[in-house]
Symmetry: C2
Subunit: 714 residues, 2 copies
């Protein structure tokens, strides 16, 4: 069953009838280009040009208004000036049209009246249940060319989106030159209604689309993206080029589209979670697309190199290692088989060097042996060729293509280094399902993309991942937040954070608020000696400076004395307006009895598009300079994610135990991450949270979140 | 005055007469290909085919032997089987031939008899003062094609070397396809005599060569490389593609060429020091070459983007930031001028967006304003174009080329995104001195290369950099090393390292060897209380375990007692074969009185090709896991290098003073690096040296190299 979105977009992609509102006989006008493009692209449905001043346009009977059209209309393409658009959208709604492509500019992107105009068309569209592409776009190329692009690419299997119309013109131009075909090409424009995610959803179920590619500058709705894209990526590869990576680039992006650009690290994490392949450059985007259309996804992650020259073998090995692509290690049996068919001077280990005088049959023999190996030993390979005096590139290409037919599950890519002598061979290979490049580095890159997608297919769908949720007293947390807000604060006081952490089961020094000397004595007894006592006042930041801290309190009497001295010190030396709430009695954490102590940092902040982002790494006063921290999104985040995230830090090795030290409480660290993730998902109020340091001891002694800061929204 | 090397290689590059030893009438034979290539490449000198069985070959009178040739011969090209080569080289020497290209394989690369044969030809060549290219190579293409490559590239300005013959065939093939010209193309082969550095020296003074490029797998002689290449890079760009970057790649490289591959990090450092531009991929290598031939080197490091579309502007900004390329910030005056000529919707800040409907004149106006800026504000720019409906790519290209003529010192590159609509424009631009690419990322890469070379040209020649050398008592250090060697040790004892550090002025806890209790008391008094005392015995590693350490000794009597107890403990609990040398009396470093204490690590090891490599970073017991260390080569290494190296570490920020802490003794850290550099250059015996930790205090309190280990060669 197609989803609601797919069903609603269906008429836009396969319209039986199209009205062009603003169709024109004047060459150079957008309404003229659209109509011409429709005809030239072989669109076979009914065409209704709409123009109040013409009876016929480019051979089609024209209508004064959309309401004059006798039959039903599936799609309206709008190219009249923006000031006329609102009533036209209303007319389309009344006429029962379900999809519109609004090419016209002059909406959100110009600000002011444009924003208002865009709001109006969105609410009209909602009323009539219409789906809109655009406004401010180049149009759509699908079963016909419903755009004003002067170029129509050939039909093919890439479904492509572009957030930039200008970029789309460039990409189309390049694609036409390079004979690349598309199932659809969609110019997103302002995304006033349907956005990139809706079109990805559509293309994911579209049979003509084998790979989905997009140039985007922002994502509208992170949650929707996860829901749709993480399922789409299981069906077919989704390759995104997201610009605005750099701080300067993001600034340029946001001035360009008016979209609130999320931080790039969050995009990287989100794309990984959703199974998206991120292209680094425009040429990577196309290389991946073309590869995914022809090459099989590898069944394993170890690859062999077969070469007739040493140098390229080394370069390819370098590139494989740099991209972390698995290097096949042959079994003795495989080596023996290679030795039986190759000359003695060959290299029988990876990279397999069949030496400069290799006839085509030697390539064939070597690859045949390697491809008989199980997928776990050799999942595929990279064939390298340099055109030496005895080399026959074309025959090698034909034999290698045939081997690809014989072993369709083995992933083969090739680099035939050269030009004049190898071009024809390269074409034969690529046509035969073996993507071939002039230089090995590109071959390695696409092979890496294929291998990565193989892992994506096998990984669970993030939104379907069940994350255990522990029942906690959220009512009490809510109460604390209410108190903080009533108090006109955004930052929680230490005993408040302590109580919340207690509720969520994150160990921290016990801490309670005493309002009398007797309170202090009793709380100290309850917490357990020794304790630290500190003044509590939102106005007093530097507690030490006004005599507001006493350490090492080990009797009830000392606790009483401390309360009195702290309160009087604060009165005497604190700011005159200080509101003295009392004295915090806090457990003193001693590290002398611990076998091992390390300082960690934990943090949470919220990304506007992707929600809470969680951080862990080396803590302590120098944390900002040591820069050993790693991030993840706290979205369907579980123990495995936490462990994986921790393992990326340098300090994780130290926690595992080095130099004869015991293992640290890694379980504890992981549990903190999981619990923090639940906490910030339970309470969207939390805008920031920091623990630094969290003292982590040996596995028996646990940990203590010593210093916690929580900031909530108003 | 040409150097000796250049003078000696001259006849190889511009021979008036060439003998082809092994010339043949049989097509397919190497000796036939070489002769044919010479003729077809238009070589105009005298050709002497040498073949005992022919009277005439390809129209040239043939000679039985080299000694039968009547006239003088500048170059002999050898393509007879390897077993006949040795007497032929002797004959060539006798005949007075000064240069030879030995194409024949079957030398060092096959091991055994091949190595011996190669030694023989090298010693004959030395005897007669002959220079040899090869053996085991493809030959040489220069004033003629003296190779057996089936392709002759066109004449041009790239001087190219390749350590791999097969790679050379691939590169030539690609170059012919892409119409790229060369001044010389040299296949290095086994480099038995002249090596990559000799040819770089030759090409550096060759007027036809504007840029030197090479594919190499190893460097023969690091010192010679520095001497020659760091001067060559001031004259023209030297671009090297060095394979074997990865551990696996290096293994493949060394099995391929038999060369001892230096570690890649040392190559990176050496290339930087010598001013080499390192290409990451084969296509980068060519892109750089083509750019350097046509584009001017920028006079500054700030660049503007001019675009008719927002998306590509963002992508380009991202790529510039990723490659650390300076982003121009316009003055108010410049912005005002742009506002005066561009439509209101434009972006007047970098990237300058002249919007989608931009006619060619708008490009011209914007660039003209930007190029009137001083070089410090705008040194050049990247012109971006997407072919939108009103865009005229060809006219833009012509106007931009004209601007390049008008402002020849401003560096311009371009990306005209697309294919069919922009190809002709791209050709016009590239021909006009503006390298143009289909995608912006490549344009940014070559601009970065140009900017980097601009800085290389301005930097001093490394080998001419005067590094101050402090006079120290090297005789005493030599004596200590002799003692260590006599003692059959490689690792110095603690009081030995201490003395050496004292000689070089690197502060460390005072440490002396006591052989009697009275000695101990006197030395303790001399060093200053408190002291630590430790057993000295090469056989006792774990001194604590056998009661061999006493801390906090603060009187002469305690020192005497400690000596006696340590010696008797060591006797009783140490290994039975332990040779007890006495007790070390060492100053105790207390940190309680210091305002700041940080642990640093210093290290030295020797790279086989590049000499001593020096390391600095975050020290302490976790140094190996924290991984905050940076490297440099201790070659003409001075204060500035040391400071630059230190600044790359994360800990350097902490040393500068953060969170209100005082500045650390950075001068001290820098002085350690400089002194270590002198030490390891003074004594090639030192194979490894470590200081971990070196305690670094606040600037007034200095530092102390607490734990030092020096290993020397036997």
């Amino acid at each position: 069953m197609p989803s609601k979105t797919v069903e609603e977009l269906q008429p836009m992609f396969h319209p039986k009838s199209v009205a062009v509102i603003g169709a024109s006989n004047k060459p150079g006008k957008i309404g003229n280009s659209v109509l011409k493009n429709m005809a030239e692209s072989g669109y076979s449905g009914i065409i209704y040009p709409i123009n109040p001043k013409a009876d016929e346009i480019l051979g089609h009977k024209a209508f004064k208004s959309i309401t004059d059209v006798p039959g039903p209309i599936d799609l309206a393409v709008v190219c009249i000036p923006s000031k006329f658009c609102v009533p036209v959208v209303e007319d389309c709604g009344k006429k029962g049209i379900k999809t519109m492509v609004i090419i016209t500019a002059g909406f959100k992107e110009i600000g002011g009246a444009g924003i208002e105009r865009e709001h109006q068309i969105v609410s009209i569209a909602k009323k009539y249940n219409m789906r809109i592409l655009g406004p401010n776009c180049l149009g759509l190329i699908t079963s016909g060319n419903f755009s004003f692009s002067s170029l129509s690419p050939k039909k093919g299997h890439i479904g492509m989106l572009s957030q930039s119309g200008a970029m789309m013109t460039g990409l189309l131009d390049w694609a036409v030159e390079n004979d690349i075909g598309f199932s659809s090409f969609i110019s997103l424009g302002n995304k006033c209604d349907a956005d990139e995610v809706d079109y990805i959803e559509y293309l994911a179920q579209d049979e003509n689309t084998k790979v989905i590619a997009a140039y985007i500058e922002s994502v509208q709705d992170g949650e929707k993206f996860f829901k749709v894209v993480s399922e789409a990526t299981k069906k077919k590869p989704v390759i995104l080029l997201k610009s605005g990576r750099s701080a300067a680039g993001a600034k340029a992006a946001s001035s360009h589209t008016g979209a609130l650009a999320g931080s790039d690290i969050a995009f990287d994490l989100a794309f990984k979670k959703a199974g998206v392949i991120r292209a680094e450059t425009i040429s990577d985007l196309f290389n991946y697309c073309l590869t995914f259309i022809i090459a099989p996804i590898p069944k394993g992650n170890k690859f062999a190199i077969i070469t007739n020259a040493g140098g390229p073998g080394i370069i390819t090995t370098d590139a494989m290692e740099a991209s972390n692509l698995g290097f096949a290690q042959f079994t003795e049996d495989t080596v023996n088989k290679l030795q039986a068919v190759l000359p003695a001077e060959s290299n029988f280990y990876n990279p397999v060097d069949i030496i400069g005088d290799a006839p085509p049959e030697r390539y064939e023999a070597a690859i045949d042996i390697l491809f008989q190996c199980p997928d776990s030993e050799v999942a595929g390979g990279i064939v390298l060729l340099t055109p030496q005096s005895q080399t026959e590139p074309l025959r090698v290409a034909k034999l290698v293509s045939a081997l690809h037919q014989k072993y369709p599950n083995k992933t083969l890519v090739a680099s035939f280094i050269g030009g004049v002598s190898v071009n024809e061979a390269a074409k034969v290979l690529t046509k035969g399902g073996v993507p071939t490049y002039a230089f090995p580095e590109e071959a390695v890159k696409v092979l890496k993309g294929l291998e990565y997608y193989g892992r994506i297919q096998k990984s669970p769908i993030i939104t379907q991942k069940k994350v255990p949720h522990v029942d906690v007293n959220t009512t009490r947390v809510r109460e604390i937040f209410d108190i903080v807000r009533k108090d006109n604060r955004a930052v929680l006081l230490s005993y408040e954070t302590s109580e919340i952490f207690d509720i969520y089961g994150i160990k921290n020094p016990k801490s309670r608020l005493a309002q009398t000397a007797r309170d202090a004595a009793e709380l100290a007894e309850e917490i357990g000696f020794p304790v630290v006592m500190k003044i509590v006042s939102p106005q007093i930041i530097h507690k030490w400076d006004c005599g507001g801290v006493v350490l090492n309190i080990d009797t009830q009497q000392k606790a009483k004395d401390a309360f009195i001295s702290i309160m009087s010190n604060a009165k005497a030396k604190g700011p005159s307006n200080a509101d003295l709430r009392g004295v915090e009695v806090q457990q003193m954490i001693t590290t002398k009895d611990k076998k091992k102590v390390n300082e960690l940092i934990f943090g949470i902040n919220r990304d506007p598009q992707w929600g809470p982002m969680i951080m862990v790494g080396s803590g302590g006063i120098y944390a900002n300079y040591v820069k050993d921290v790693k991030f993840d999104l706290a979205f369907h985040y579980d123990r495995d994610d936490a462990l994986k995230q921790l393992k990326q830090t340098n300090i994780s090795k130290i926690l595992e135990g080095v130099r004869g030290e015991p293992r640290s409480d890694i379980e504890g660290v992981v549990s903190i991450l999981v619990k923090l993730s639940q906490l910030v998902n339970d309470f969207k109020d939390i805008v920031e949270l920091d623990i630094n340091p969290c003292l982590v001891f040996d596995a028996e002694s646990g940990y203590s979140a010593v210093d916690i800061k929580i900031t909530i929204s108003h």
